[in-house]
Symmetry: D2
Subunit: 365 residues, 4 copies
């Protein structure tokens, strides 16, 4: 029963994403000011739930964090309590320790849990919901590839950063008659490349959803030359793929769980073009983690605030097992059962793809 | 018949707004690359149509303008050919000279006219449409108060600028225990104040749609003091109104058509608070025209591009008399007949108003 | 003797200025890490010294503040302990209470005081030094008008903000053929107007040091028109003066200690030009307090860090009674006795003035 | 004789650098407005001088370019007319074609040449000067490693970009308890790493001038852990070197004149730390070309303007064979003979190095 809610907890899981603190602030303010809840945060995502590592969240503790990157609750990757690495008899084994989490919630009297995270984090949220925990999810991914919501927070800040990088590369490309490549995030979905490519006046956008032919890229470079444009800007999602075959990513520390990546698609593309386009210098920049942190953009501050408020309203209404979601112009929600495991990728005939083609941008196909 | 379109023209009217050049670029690229049209621009809005002051628009002439503020076609305020100031017998009189515009279009063989502007400019667009001219409208207002479209371009850049200003005022307010007021644009609608207020962590948002009581503002300042917050940030739309009575704006040059405004709501508010809140210094900043120009934000670059492409698609489809419009997630259109004269103001129970109230923001009511 | 220093205190006085927190962070880190001092901060400048309102400053308390505007020590204007407003026999009187400050320092065992402030704050610093207090000054003014140091921190961030505003006004001016005025800070010295005017491509720069003739400004507007430039950008320091007569600033709340200013030089200029230049619209923007706060620019972060480190080094060397100062490329120091009451204004033949004239900028003279 | 100057030409050589257009604008305006010169630009640096590829530079052609990245004159790397690649008898050979340049100058009646470039470009400038050409140099390098001038333009914009990247990485590092590495430009000199490291609150700065010991870097990470700081920010110049041995940079296209670099110092460092610091995730970002282009910062706009004006003044005074230079607070000049081949590197006891050490930054030594 929603009436009985007195104490709620928040946790943030997965990679960094601009807007996490804005969600936290809005949820805490709403919970305290509108509903009089006591609010806590588990530190380091589910790891904190397992360790019962709890901090009180007050109006004071969320003061001034709206625009700040990161998360005051800290986060960790890959901490799935349903398949958690623990020591047993001197050996590390993986086992389901989710009951520890459930017990900790009970012990602390936490009536509801607001989970802010991406597909992995929300899968656990769903699984806790199935175990009877009162869970509300908040979708987080800078890639914007979560199903059931039009936009995820952090995405617009990422395209702001990528667009500014493209603006900077533009002047150099033009002055020095170069082909400049910018590799942006997006393993499975090309949204960042697509939107920053349009906003940053890219000539070629390569995304995972539309495998590219390197010869078509060269054709575009040549077509521009014929029009007197002696430079070309290419934005490529990290998950973009050539039509023929794989991108072999070299790694420095092979045995590491998260090896240093040498190369990747941007470098492959640069190497391939270096062979095919002798009359231009080619340069590749991998934007990397600066897409994830720092001051949160205006759009994401507002979207995150809407998500945070709505999450607590769903708690108050007892609408557990749901994730807040942006649908067109309004904030609604969807069942966590519907969301998980579905990827929102760029359709080849998406409006934005057509827009891009209309203004002459090539997808290398 | 849409098939017969060969030559089109663009014009921009009304006040400055980030994204105008992005619309122009997208429209010109689409017209040339997708449809093979010849494209022209009338300079200075309708005045150019009257004077037949035309410039060719080519891929070259729109190169590099996507992110730049202003309009390469120039603009002018208040040039309504249906009520135009002309000299007659040595005297300035106002008369309907719209036929001159119609004739100029015929003379130059312009098959369709894309008009980018706000309520005034689009009213004339509708009137030319009624006279049989093939017109497509593109909505422009930084105030976001045009009916029939969810968002107008330029609005998000304006809230970016206002939010950054609020961020800057914040640190000073906090260090010096001040009440800081920021007056932003919005004569009839409070959207800029509302969204920048949420994004910029304002404590009080005053908008035309919700008349304020100065005592409620003082109450909010006092309530914050009690919580140990010895500063307050107020964002006020230029059209905000106290519940009791008018804001008398003093003017320096009374006989001027557009007199220098001295005062305005921000100054009135500061003066009133100065009397009521003796223990804080009060400061007012009027953001003014820096909301209108400069580098266009990412969101507006994409939205403007979508509008520009769609406008030319509507030309190609012969869908004249319509205005392109954002509906939820997609770009559609609406009849110019529906759009004109309706203002999209903030409803007192708008989702964003409720969001703001949930996190403790006061509207002074 | 420098050796005996064990405990030091910091205070910040006067108006807000980007870089205050960077000075505090550098001083605290250096004091703790290099010298093992205990460090305290007086809150609200000298008022805190009077009230013995002290907070400990640790590595933790200065963590993350380098780029943040404002001051974690808070500040207050006009709190001069040598002429301080106190209640006596039920009446407010002004008297010298500096001995209370001296006693408080002794009572707390503070061996040295680092005072960060402008001319007023540093005057008191000198006076405490004369009374035997171990004082080191750090120069602060966004106006850059303090003597004996080449640059003060906060100044470069202010010109960044002013330059970005000019960039934004530029596109509107150009598109709409306007005369755009930007009023920036600088009551006695025109440095902000001068440097932002050069960086922001102003056509006219008006500063207190070079009284202007409104007819010369009009001449410049006309000369630009003749070259086909139908817009003009004017940046004016708040202290700029016409050759003939005063600027009467209207005030709303006359009896207030710090009345709301209506008008000021930007408005006067706009009103005057409105009468003289009928063929352009004139617009004035008063940049105000957004010049003072917010994220600190790169240059100021480094300069402030250098000042903060040097201040503590001077403490350690027992070089009391001095102010840190930038001399060409290096950080040195100068006696507080030399600094006070001298204003570093723009000389009419300053290199930057000549640079500006060389590229065609008018000073209205 | 200086009096006889009537026609001058400009050229820009070497890699991109923010501020090139500002130098060009200031030089052109000064030349035309103050001296009545005719001004031309050679396109693509010395290649344009060889091909006599000339464009007129007027007030109109330099309008609006002050803050724009790149160079309207275009540039090329490695075009040394004293050792130029030409076709002879069907084979590509290198030969001295500088006389062609000298002849072209005569043929066009160019009385003086303003050469804007780095060490390579200025070496040719000196050599042309030795051949009797009236040359003035303007120093350009984002690395700030040119001798005889305190600061080169483009450097401060590069540290702005690097500092903003560090700000963004900071929030992620803190939230996720990571070691974040940022590789910035600086092959021979560590100025960008040093200044952005201070401004961006780096914990470790690695530069070519101070070879590092990886164990000292690990010690710093551990020392921070002990203070409860579970993250570390490292900024590394591309030319930084470990004490023991070389950094082997893998290349994808070995036979290319400018091969794609895989790896480099940032990646090596990440791989090494991955082995030594098991309890943190390590991430590396290579900032690359976004340091070179885009909107020019305020400081560089002013510095470039000063250089451009001074270069033309030196032309007017007949002071050929010199390079303009910033000395402390003023713009002076130095003989090209003195400048060439000398590198201004970071001295291990440079004031800024000491500043950084004072606030606890490690250089890994």
């Amino acid at each position: 029963m929603a009436k009985e809610i007195k104490k709620i907890a928040l946790l943030t899981g997965g990679g960094d994403c601009s807007g996490l603190n804005a969600v936290i602030q809005a949820a805490v303010k709403t919970a305290i000011l509108q509903y009089g809840y006591e609010v806590y945060g588990y530190k380091f995502g589910y790891r904190g739930l397992y360790n019962n590592d709890l901090m009180p969240l007050t109006l004071e503790s969320v003061s001034g964090i709206l625009g700040r990157g990161g998360t005051i609750l800290y986060s960790s990757n890959k901490d799935n309590l349903f398949d958690y690495q623990v020591e047993e008899n001197g050996k590390m084994v993986k086992k389901d320790v989710s009951n520890v989490g459930v017990e900790n919630l009970k012990k602390e009297g936490i009536d509801a849990l607001v989970v802010i995270g991406g597909d992995g984090t929300l899968t656990s949220a769903r699984d806790f919901s199935r175990k009877g925990v009162n869970v509300i999810g908040v979708p987080k991914t800078i890639d914007n590839d979560l199903a059931c919501t039009d936009v995820t927070f952090g995405f617009n800040t990422a395209i702001d950063v990528a667009t500014e990088a493209l603006d900077r590369l533009h002047t150099t490309a033009e002055s020095h008659h170069r082909v400049m490549i910018l590799e942006v995030m997006g393993r499975n979905a090309g949204w960042i490349a697509l939107e920053s490519g349009i906003a940053g006046s890219a000539d070629v956008i390569l995304i995972p959803e539309i495998p590219y032919d390197i010869n078509k890229v060269v054709e575009k470079i040549r077509a521009r030359e014929e029009r007197g444009k002696l430079f070309t800007i290419i934005v490529v999602a990290e998950g973009a793929k050539p039509k023929d075959g794989e991108v072999v990513v070299q790694k420095i520390v092979e045995d590491s769980p998260d090896p240093i990546r040498l190369g990747g698609i941007g470098n492959k593309l640069a190497a391939d073009l270096e062979k095919l386009v002798k009359n231009h210098e080619i340069r590749n920049t991998v934007l990397g983690h600066i897409q994830r942190g720092g001051t949160t953009g205006t759009y994401d501050r507002i979207l995150s605030t809407r998500y945070g408020v709505k999450a607590v309203e769903l708690v108050a209404e007892g609408m557990f097992g749901n994730m807040v979601a942006l649908k067109g112009d309004t904030i609604g929600y969807d069942s966590l059962e519907n969301v998980i495991g579905k990827l929102k990728t760029v359709k080849p005939d998406d409006e934005l793809v057509n827009i891009a083609r209309s203004i002459g941008i090539s997808f290398g196909d």
